[in-house]
C-alpha cells in the first residue's frame, strides 16, 4: 500500500494544484479589475473621470462593489425552480473558469530541479476542449433564464442561446483555417510555432477578424449584448437574480472576456512570445525571469484585447436581432467558409 502511494508523483499533484489555484485567483482578480477598467474607460470616453474615491485612483472600487453584492439580500422567487435557479450562476461561473485549463500561460519554469510548464494540462485536443466548454456556457444563461420564471428573462435567455450557438459556427470555421496551417490542436504546439516564426494573424487576418467578431458575440458584449438589453428586456436573463448570484453572472461575463482575450492572443498573436526577441536565447540567459516575462507579455496582449472590447462597447449601439442573425448567417459564415477553402487550396498547392 505504502509503496504504491509513494510511487505516485506527489510533487506533480502539488505542482498542478498550486498552478490551478494561481491561475484561478489571477483570473478572478483580473475579472475584478476589469469591472474597474470598464468604468474608467467608459468615463474617459464620455469625458468624465470615473471612480476615484475608493483608494488611489478608485482602485478599491471592485472590493467595495463585491462587498455590496455580498451584503445584499438574497432573493429566490418562490415560483422558480430552486435547484435550477441556483445552478444557473454556478454553471456560468464554472464554464467561464474551466477554459483556462488548456491555455499555456508561459514557458517552462525551473524550480527545485523540476521543470514546471505553466499550463495546467497540455491535452492534444486543446482547441476542441475550449469549444466544448464555451458552448456549455449557454446552459448557464439558458437555465438562469428558464428558472427565473419570468417572460423577459426567458426571452433574453432564448436570444442569448441562439446567438451563442449561431456565432459558434463562424468561429469554428475560422479556426479550421487556422488549424490547417498549424496542423495541431495542441495549444502548446500552436504557440510553439509562433515563438520562432510569424504570428498567425499575418497568415490569417480574415480568420482573426471573424474570430474577433464572434468572440464579441460569445461574450455578449456590445454590439451583440442582446441577452442583457436593459431597455428591451428590463435587465436580461439575470433579472430575477440578486446579491452574489447576480454577481456571479456578471463576474462570469468578465472572466469570459478575459479568457477569450487570452485565447485570441494565444492563437493569433503568439501567446506568451516576447515580441521582437528570440525567446529561446532569452530563456537560456535569463532563466526563470524570462519565463515570467513571457507570462507578462501574454497579459499585456490580453490587456490590449480587453481594452478593445471596452472601447467598442462604449462606441457603438447594439444590433437589432434580425441584423444580428443576418450578420452571422449571411455574412460571417460564407466569409469564414471562403477563408477556409482558400486556405485549404493554398496549403495544398504549396505542398503539392
Amino acid at each position: 500500500m505504502q509503496i504504491t502511494l509513494l510511487a505516485f508523483d506527489w510533487f506533480f499533484l502539488v505542482e498542478k494544484l498550486v498552478l490551478i489555484i494561481g491561475i484561478i485567483s489571477v483570473s478572478l482578480v483580473i475579472a475584478m479589475y476589469e469591472t474597474w477598467a470598464e468604468r474608467k474607460v467608459a468615463a474617459f470616453i464620455q469625458d468624465r473621470i470615473g471612480p476615484n474615491r475608493a483608494g488611489p485612483l478608485g482602485l478599491f472600487q471592485p472590493l467595495a462593489d463585491g462587498m455590496k453584492l455580498f451584503m445584499k439580500e438574497e432573493i429566490i422567487p418562490n415560483t422558480s425552480n430552486r435547484m435550477l435557479f441556483i445552478l444557473g450562476p454556478c454553471l456560468a461561473m464554472m464554464t467561464a473558469m474551466m477554459t483556462s485549463a488548456v491555455i499555456p500561460w508561459g514557458g517552462t519554469l525551473d524550480l527545485f530541479g523540476r521543470s514546471i510548464p505553466l499550463q495546467i494540462t497540455d491535452i492534444n485536443i486543446g482547441i476542441l476542449y475550449i469549444f466544448g466548454v464555451v458552448s456549455m456556457g449557454v446552459y448557464g444563461i439558458m437555465i438562469g433564464g428558464w428558472a427565473s420564471n419570468n417572460k423577459f428573462s426567458l426571452l433574453a435567455a432564448l436570444r442569448g442561446a441562439s446567438q451563442v450557438i449561431s456565432y459558434e459556427l463562424p468561429m469554428g470555421l475560422s479556426l479550421i483555417a487556422l488549424l490547417m496551417l498549424t496542423g495541431s490542436l495542441k495549444m502548446s504546439v500552436i504557440v510553439g510555432q509562433q515563438l520562432d516564426g510569424w504570428y498567425n494573424v499575418l497568415w490569417q487576418p480574415l480568420g482573426f477578424f471573424i474570430f474577433l467578431v464572434c468572440a464579441f458575440a460569445e461574450c455578449n458584449r456590445t454590439p451583440f449584448d442582446l441577452p442583457e438589453a436593459e431597455n428591451e428586456l428590463n435587465f436580461g436573463y439575470h433579472q430575477e437574480y440578486s446579491s452574489m448570484k447576480l454577481g456571479f453572472y456578471l463576474f462570469a461575463e468578465y472572466i469570459n472576456m478575459f479568457i477569450s482575450s487570452v485565447i485570441m492572443s494565444t492563437l493569433f498573436f503568439g501567446g506568451y512570445d516576447i515580441p521582437f526577441v528570440n525567446d529561446a536565447h532569452l530563456v537560456e540567459s535569463w532563466g526563470n525571469w524570462a519565463v515570467l516575462l513571457q507570462g507578462f507579455c501574454l497579459f499585456a496582449k490580453t490587456a490590449m484585447f480587453i481594452f478593445l472590447f471596452m472601447w467598442v462597447r462604449w462606441t457603438i449601439p447594439r444590433f437589432r436581432y434580425d441584423q444580428l442573425m443576418n450578420l452571422c448567417w449571411k455574412r460571417l459564415i460564407p466569409l469564414a467558409l471562403a477563408n477556409m477553402i482558400i486556405t485549404a487550396a493554398i496549403v495544398l498547392w504549396l505542398k503539392k
Binding site: V41, F44, D47, I49, W311, V312, W314, T315, R331
Partner: protein
C-alpha cells in the same frame, strides 16, 4: 416648411452603401471619435475639493444681516413673509426693551424668525421686499437633512456672525458677492 432652427437636418433615407453595410469601416470611424474623447479634458468637477464658480446672481441659503455695530437689522415688519410666494417665512415680533439697544437696531425686532427650506423656492423675493436690508440670499446650498424639522431654519441658523466680535466669520458668511460689491464701491 420653414425650419425652426438653423441646425435642422433632413433625415437621410438613402439605402446604405456597401461600406456602410459591412459596418466595419463605420465602426472604426466611431472608435476614432471615442478615442479622441479619451484624451480630452474631463468635464468632471470633484465636488468637495473643487467647487464650481457661482454666478453673480446665484441665490442660495438666506442670511439675516446685522449692521456694522452687530445689531440685528430685522424689524419684524413681515413684508418678506407677505412677498414670499411659497409662504416659507414665519415670524413673531417683540418689542425692544431698554438696555437691548446694542442687540437690535429698531424698536421692534423678530423674536422668532423661521424659514422652511423645504418650501422655499429660492426666488429672492424676500430679499427684494425687505426695507431694512435685513435678509439676503447667500452663495451656499441648502444642505440635506435626515428629518423635515431639521430643514426649518430658525434665527440661530440664519443670523450672520457678529462683525464686531467675529469679523473673520462675518466676512466669510457675507460671501464673494458682498465682497465684490465692496470692492466696486
Amino acid at each position: 416648411m420653414q425650419s425652426l432652427t438653423s441646425r435642422a437636418k433632413q433625415v437621410d433615407r438613402r439605402p446604405m452603401t456597401f461600406l456602410e453595410r459591412i459596418y466595419v469601416w463605420e465602426i472604426f470611424k466611431g472608435m476614432l471619435i471615442t478615442l479622441k474623447h479619451f484624451f480630452k479634458k474631463k468635464a468632471t468637477i470633484s465636488y468637495p475639493e473643487q467647487k464650481r464658480e457661482f454666478s453673480p446672481v446665484f441665490r442660495g441659503l438666506h442670511v439675516l444681516n446685522r449692521d456694522e455695530q452687530g445689531r440685528e437689522r430685522c424689524t419684524a415688519c413681515g413684508l418678506c413673509a407677505v412677498a414670499c410666494p411659497a409662504e416659507a417665512i414665519t415670524m413673531e415680533a417683540a418689542e425692544r426693551l431698554p438696555g437691548e439697544e446694542n442687540l437690535y437696531r429698531e424698536e421692534k425686532y423678530a423674536a422668532k424668525y423661521e424659514i422652511n427650506m423645504l418650501r422655499c423656492i429660492f426666488c429672492g423675493l424676500c430679499e427684494e421686499a425687505c426695507p431694512k436690508d435685513a435678509i439676503y440670499l447667500s452663495e451656499t446650498f441648502a444642505p440635506s437633512n435626515y428629518q423635515r424639522k431639521g430643514l426649518i431654519y430658525g434665527k440661530p441658523d440664519l443670523l450672520i456672525p457678529d462683525p464686531v466680535t467675529q469679523p473673520e466669520e462675518y466676512k466669510k458668511a457675507l460671501g464673494n458677492r458682498a465682497n465684490q460689491k465692496e470692492k466696486a464701491n
